[in-house]
């Protein structure tokens, strides 16, 4: 019996079942795409196959590699014998999956030595590393480079070489190209496909993007809300999808969206209202191309005679982190407040999950979106205890008051904080409470309006880490408003630059912040660099 056989009976999270029973097999040399939006359970499924589920998550079931059974709820020690040898995991973000303080060569060499079970002579090792690098189309000199010296695409190639160094039977690639720009995406996926066939290795490719797997996997499995909704040969599913959800995914084809986005750019400055844009085909479907969780089109807001927002478009996909940057007075906070319903826009449309929202709070529910404000000192009611604040927010989401300690733990606060009042907590702790309150109704979008600006640098980093972790664990989309480019770069997938109430530039973090095309963005980036010499932040 060869190949991979997966039988998951279910994955339970701290708040209940997350993934229902899933079973699939992958022949040696075949590949399977697991498709789904954020929160569909695809990443949990992938992580359960390498024993890397987050704390509090338990998978039941069994993974068979060439007939060898590995129970999914095994101890970490027994997983360590499976990980890297039988199953390798390639992660989404090449910026963080490689160690920043080691050269690329050794990072591949470790795996080679672990696989050989002994120290290898340097010459032999160098040759082996060069061979692995050649396999991913990189020159041997990359071995001496540090990850930060390489481009995103090159880094991901190094990560692939490292993941394949142990010659695994199964490679799980979890959104391997999400962090890359469009041209690199295709190259990396084609490379993975070629390597997988060449090596007779099974591959499980996790993606939110049906279009990207076209012609690159044999079979496809579409997941939604923890259940498989459609499966079949990739070509069949793409040409004649049966499930409505699959059809919707195909309709949001990213290649078209990205193309449309580019062609759209030049006429943007003095755009009139464009009625055909309401659902965002020509506008921003987001660089990643998922069905937008929220899309704002042509939003206009005036305060008296002053026009603060002058036809702003913004769209956020489920689970995506979108940064909005601009100097103070650019209108970025007003945009966030219009989306949250705290300000009533004067024109344009805001659509949440396909449903248009009327201006103001009344059309919105707490489960749709929550906001974390800048100032942790005034955003908590000083007369209420932390426990009372959180109990109230939990009740709004229909949750029980007993969940307060779990909620506090989620944001990294001790359970005894519940008895305290805001005045007894530090700024960072208060901001954690504010985040916990915002998360209590389980919103699908978290709006962070300069949420770390009032905090000192260390606390800022902690809160950013927390937000990143929550995004991964809860699959929550984040609209991150900031004037600080360095902060946005740390957390956002895509960046929208706002100036005088208009979007001047939009794209992935790397595109916008490394190669800004608009004069204003260039100024902003240059200013941030100057700024960073005086402060400890790094742009």
């Amino acid at each position: 019996m060869t190949g991979i056989d997966v039988a998951i009976d279910g994955i339970d999270g701290p708040t209940g079942p997350m993934v229902a029973a899933v079973a699939f097999g992958i022949e040696p040399g075949a590949s399977l795409a697991l498709i789904g939006e954020s929160g569909s359970g695809k990443t949990l499924t992938a992580k359960s196959l390498v024993g890397l589920l987050p704390n509090g998550f338990v998978a039941r079931g069994v993974l068979r590699v060439d007939g060898r059974a590995h129970p999914l709820d095994a101890t970490d020690a027994s997983w360590r014998r499976v990980r890297g040898r039988e199953v390798s995991l390639l992660l989404q973000d090449p910026f963080t999956s490689l160690s920043p303080v080691h050269r690329c060569g050794p990072q591949i060499a470790w795996t080679l030595e672990a696989q050989a079970g002994r120290r290898l002579p340097k010459r032999e090792l160098d040759l082996a590393v060069a061979k692995r690098l050649a396999e991913v189309n990189l020159p041997a000199r990359v071995a001496r480079a540090y990850p930060h010296e390489l481009s995103g695409g090159m880094r991901q190639r190094v990560a692939i070489a490292a993941a394949l160094a142990s010659d695994p039977r199964l490679l799980i690639a979890d959104e391997p190209t999400t962090a890359l720009d469009a041209s690199n995406q295709a190259e990396i996926l084609d490379l993975l496909r070629a390597l997988q066939i060449e090596r007779g290795m099974a591959m499980l490719l996790i993606s939110h993007d049906l279009g990207l797997v076209r012609g690159r996997t044999d079979d496809v499995l579409v997941m939604r809300h923890g259940e498989v909704v459609e499966r079949g040969a990739t070509a069949t599913v793409l040409s004649s999808p049966e499930h409505a959800y699959t059809r919707a995914l195909i309709a949001a084809d990213p290649v078209l969206a990205i193309e449309a986005d580019r062609h759209d750019r030049p006429d943007r400055p003095d755009r009139p209202d464009r009625p055909g844009d309401a659902l965002g085909h020509g506008a921003d479907i987001g660089v990643s191309g998922r069905i937008p969780l929220i899309s704002a089109t042509g939003v206009v807001k005036r305060f008296g005679l002053r026009t603060v927002l002058d036809g702003v478009d913004l769209s956020i996909a489920p689970g995506q982190v979108v940064g909005v940057v601009g100097e103070s007075g650019s209108g970025k906070s007003t945009l966030a407040r219009c989306i949250a319903g705290l300000e009533r826009e004067d024109g344009g449309s805001i659509v949440f999950d396909g449903r248009p929202l009327a201006p103001g709070r009344r059309s919105r529910t707490p489960e749709q979106m929550q906001i974390v404000f800048q100032d942790p000192y005034s955003s908590l009611n000083p007369m209420m205890t932390i426990g009372a604040i959180l109990r109230e927010a939990l009740a709004v989401g229909g949750r029980r008051p007993e969940e307060v300690p779990a909620l506090l733990e989620l944001v990294g606060l001790p359970a005894d904080a519940a008895a305290k009042r805001p005045a007894q907590l530090s700024g960072g702790q208060r901001q954690r409470v504010a985040i916990a309150r915002a998360l209590a109704p389980r919103p699908r979008l978290l709006i962070c309006d300069e949420s770390v600006s009032a905090l000192d640098v260390q606390v800022q980093a902690q809160i950013l880490d927390l937000l990143g972790r929550l995004r991964d664990e809860l699959d929550i989309a984040i609209l991150f408003i900031s004037h600080d480019l360095a902060v946005v770069r740390r957390i956002a997938d895509t960046v929208t630059v706002v100036w005088q109430g208009r979007v001047v530039e939009h794209g992935t973090c790397a595109q916008v912040l490394d190669e800004p095309s608009e004069d204003y963005t260039k100024l902003l980036v240059a200013a941030a660099r100057r700024d960073s010499t005086g402060r400890t932040t790094v742009a």
């Binding site: 705290l342 979106m369 929550q370 404000f373 955003s379 007369m383 927010a393 504010a434």
Partner: protein, 285 residues
Amino acid sequence: MTAALGPVGVGFRSRRRIPVTIVVCLAVLAVALLAVLLGPLLFPDATEQDILSSLMPAGSPGHPLGTDELGRDILALTVAGAASALVGPVCVAVGSMLLGILLGTLAGYERGPLDFAISRWTDLLLALPVLLAAIVVSGVFGGGYWTTVALLILLFSPSDIRIVRAGVLEQAARPYIEAAQMLSLSRWRVMFRHILPNVSSLVITNAMLNVAFALVAFSSLSFLGVGVPPGTADWGRQLTDNRAIMFDNPAAVIVPAVLIIAVACCVNLVGDWLGQRLTRSGGLA
């Protein structure tokens, strides 16, 4: 007084030392409270007239503070008069506080036409001279004790409404209120559970001031013969009635006058102190 003093024991986690002045004030108010509660029991027949022993000076046997023209014992009359002198003002302060909380919060949080209507209403009431209005209304409606209480509640309420409204306006713009709105909490919950505790220091301080103002207003009205019917045991009434015998038995006038001033001062001082404590405990004004 109990209602207004209630919060002293509640809501403070760190018990700081209470200043001596406040201890003295609280003691004075406690004695006044005792007089209100026990007065009718100790001196059930304080208003009984006894012409034979009229106009006895202070220090006379059986009458430590002497008697008035009608032979009523000043001590008994003063103790029994505490109820009439204090219950009315406290009712006025509490009543106008409640009215102020309700209308002031509505005006400050809802804004719009409701705010306009409530604000113009307070302007109208503020334009009326309190004592003149009281005299007219009492004259027209017969001037009972509780009519006066109701009238003073109405006339005192504009200051409460305005103070609460201003406080609510300031709080409503704060992010914690927007956070409550993000949770789609009902407006009543936002107004009375989130905003009100944060303006409570203003409200309570003002209510304490109002007790003192109402005490003086009541005494003035009684002095003018409007608030309290003649023959009733009441400090203000004593001032009016005993003006003529000021030189025969000075205690008949001085004792109630000093008590009015003392109680008014003590309530003011305690109110100030309480307001500061509440502000500090919350961190916001």
